[in-house]
Amino acid sequence: MSTIAVEVVYRGIFQKTLARNIVRSIVFAARKEGKIGTAFGRYGDSPERNGIPAKQFAIVADTAEELEENLAVYEAHDVDVTINVDDTMSKGIESWAWYGLQPINQLTKPNGTLIVTSRQEAEDLIEDMHQRDEPYNLSIIPSVPSFSGLWVYKDDHTDARILGTLCKVCPDLVSLASMLEAMKDQGWSELKASSAEKAYDRGTQRPVEPGEGSTDTPFNFDLPGWKTMEEGLVIRAVPQGGGFRGGDEGFQPARSEVFKKYSTRSMRPVINFDTCTKCTLCWLQCPDTVFDVTPDGLYDANMEACCGCAVCEAVCPVPDCITMVNEAEFNDNNSQWEAWTKDKDGYQKWMTVLVDKAKLETRTHGFHHVGEYAEQGPQAEED
């Protein structure tokens, strides 16, 4: 008598097919063992938007009666395994389906497991993930997060490796043999099955103790009751904004304190203020009004508002003045302009390291790589 729930947290559109492959395979494999299951995407996430964190679920039970409690819901209420297919979501997720930032490990049951595809070390990932009162386990699949598009799927075996690892870390769910059988039924290649087997053999877990992790408080929003809401479906506009950081000079638009959407970002712009010509293009073209105008007429990308679309990088006419860098490199949303103002040499050094790294590694989505799939080369292969 048991019910096991798995969630896949993924980036909308880019990883939709990946998530679907994972949750469906779980239900198929469970079926091989005479169990019954359901697979579903969280309704509020769709229609999916590029990169916005979304979820799909697989829930498996021994009997139809046991499964029933998990039907007609949007989310599993807690999960045995959380699968995070883009490590930049470790910092928390704000989706299309709810208000506020949800820690990546929020639904993971005590002593459950969080599987993540990442090139980062466990310590770096745990630093990003919110602290909790109950212990859980972290299982890392060393790989570059797999991104593709709405109509195409990059079959880089990420799904197979995740499923292999899943069988290892959650042996009560399904056996590896059943999973391999389910893969075969779906027409997956022998090579893919061997990737699952390898991942199974290599799968490890590191316990994450209470107190480990980020101490940030996720932002939240209390929904009003029917007696306190304004009538007539009216939404008041946010004010226009004013001077930079509340001063008289520059300009900073007012922003919603409860809808920030920055967890959509898997890359962020890093700005070279020394070469900026103040041409205004980033400020004009940014679809999210991210750029604050500083008192000295520069443009500071506000990381509480940036979705990481890379339009600014594309429109900037100055070589390497704006460079999109993997979000995994950062641990805060602090102002780059303020850091540059305080210590220009230090900023240059910090920036140069990041820009050089960005040139070596590639994140394949967003405006940056629209319509193309950059070669990921050796990074995509297993160590």
Binding site: R31, F40, A72, V73
Partner: protein
């Protein structure tokens, strides 16, 4: 309009599909001739899957994406008149946009089968389930069914064409599927072999009513007051006949496919000796059945009655199922502003049905799950507590209570 179709399923097969996908597969199994579409969530999951089946070469049909819901329903209406088996569907205000066509389809006795992916009516724009959209056809001569599972959606669709196209009926049939919970959730579904479906579902024969050059007729005339009463009475009689036809065809379905509930109209769950019977429709069944099982474990005599056919309303069966208990809690996933007791549509229908009974149980109404809000087991327990209170005190303080609404 029989064409040679590739056999979709040589033998029975398990699929992991949503309720919408189940209905799309039913379209293929039923060899539907004309399917029209216009996208709106959550119904659009059906048209997506029909497109896929067609693109994959799994079946052939005239698949017409119209420029609006109104045209979408007009096209199937006309296609049905010339003898084509038809399917279409919509959701929320999209369904409302087609309403002129929806009304005349029933008036002309055309057996169109439609899927309504239940969705809250705008504004505000919301995708979640509310039953008010489909409910709006309740007075028009459409049969109206609420499915709870993807399996039931597939089975009901096959039944729908058979019933609607029966010459004793010739009325349109709408299958309601709760947005998200049924339209977007994948479950294991037993898809029958094509041969069995062929055995159960003969091709559509409109006979002397078929609009065809070889059978010169005019349909949809303009009339005065000297005609309409008789026309209405005729449709009323057809709707009265549906109950017998549905029962007969449902029995045949069970024989051919080897599955099906005892009654096509209602599902009775632990109602036999129940003091309290909860009533609801669609996927509400899931949390309610779980709650009922747990309350039974605690020795509480609670049962659940799921209304499957809202039209025709199986008055006698429902009266029988409800007359034995002490109190009834009706959970509406709909609302009727300004109605008796400011209650839901289902509640007021049931209360009307129970009025002639010699012994009338207490009846309480609960508005829950609007706009797709999850109805949880604890919400159902809350409902049961309030119904129990009415039994204990012999008094009903509030006839209508909103469940899990923020004050």
């Amino acid at each position: 309009m029989a064409t040679t179709q590739p056999k979709l399923y040589e033998s029975e097969k398990e699929e992991l599909i949503s309720g919408s996908e189940a209905i799309a597969i039913a379209c293929a199994l039923a060899d539907v001739d004309v399917i029209t579409a216009y996208p709106i969530r959550p119904y659009d999951t059906v048209m997506q899957y029909v497109s896929k089946l067609k693109a994959d070469g799994a079946f052939d049909c005239d698949f017409i994406v119209a420029e609006s819901e109104h045209s979408q329903f007009e096209i199937v209406k006309h296609a049905s008149a010339v003898g084509a088996r038809t399917f279409c569907g919509s959701s929320g205000v999209g369904w409302f946009y087609a309403f002129e066509a929806i009304a005349v389809t029933a008036g002309l006795r055309l057996p169109v089968v439609a899927m309504v992916g239940n969705r809250a009516l705008d504004d505000p724009g919301a995708f979640g389930v509310e039953h008010n959209d489909a409910m709006a056809v309740r007075d028009l001569g459409w049969m109206l069914y609420w499915a709870a599972t993807a399996q039931e959606a597939l089975d009901t669709a096959l039944l729908a064409w058979r019933v609607a196209e029966d010459p004793r009926v010739f009325l349109p049939f709408a299958i309601s599927c709760d947005g998200s919970f049924l339209t977007h959730s994948q479950a294991i579904v037993n898809v029958p072999a094509s041969d069995k479906v062929d055995q159960f579902l003969p091709s559509y024969d409109r006979g002397r009513l078929q609009l065809h050059p070889d059978n010169p007729i005019t349909i949809a005339p303009q009339v005065n007051e000297d005609w309409l009463m008789e026309i209405r009475r005729q449709s009323d009689d057809a709707m009265r006949r549906t109950q017998g036809v549905i029962k007969e065809i449902h029995d045949e379905f069970k024989e051919v496919f080897g599955r099906g509930d005892p009654s096509p109209f209602i599902e009775e769950y632990m109602t036999e000796d129940a003091d309290i019977v909860l009533v609801g429709m669609g996927t509400l069944a899931m949390p309610v059945r779980v709650a009922v099982r747990r309350l039974r474990e605690q020795g509480k005599k609670v049962g659940f009655l799921r209304i499957k056919f809202f039209r025709p309303f199986a008055t006698e069966e429902i009266q029988q199922a409800l007359s034995k208990c002490k109190a009834i809690g009706v959970i509406d996933r709909d609302y009727s502003y300004g109605s008796p007791s400011y209650g839901g549509v289902l509640f007021n229908e049931l209360r009307a049905a129970m009025y002639p009974m010699p012994q009338r149980p207490h009846m309480l109404n609960f508005i829950a799950g609007l706009g797709g809000r999850e109805v949880l087991v604890r919400d159902v327990n809350h409902v049961v507590d309030m119904v129990q209170k009415a039994i204990d005190t012999g008094k009903i303080e509030e006839e209508t209570t909103w469940i899990a609404v923020r004050e």
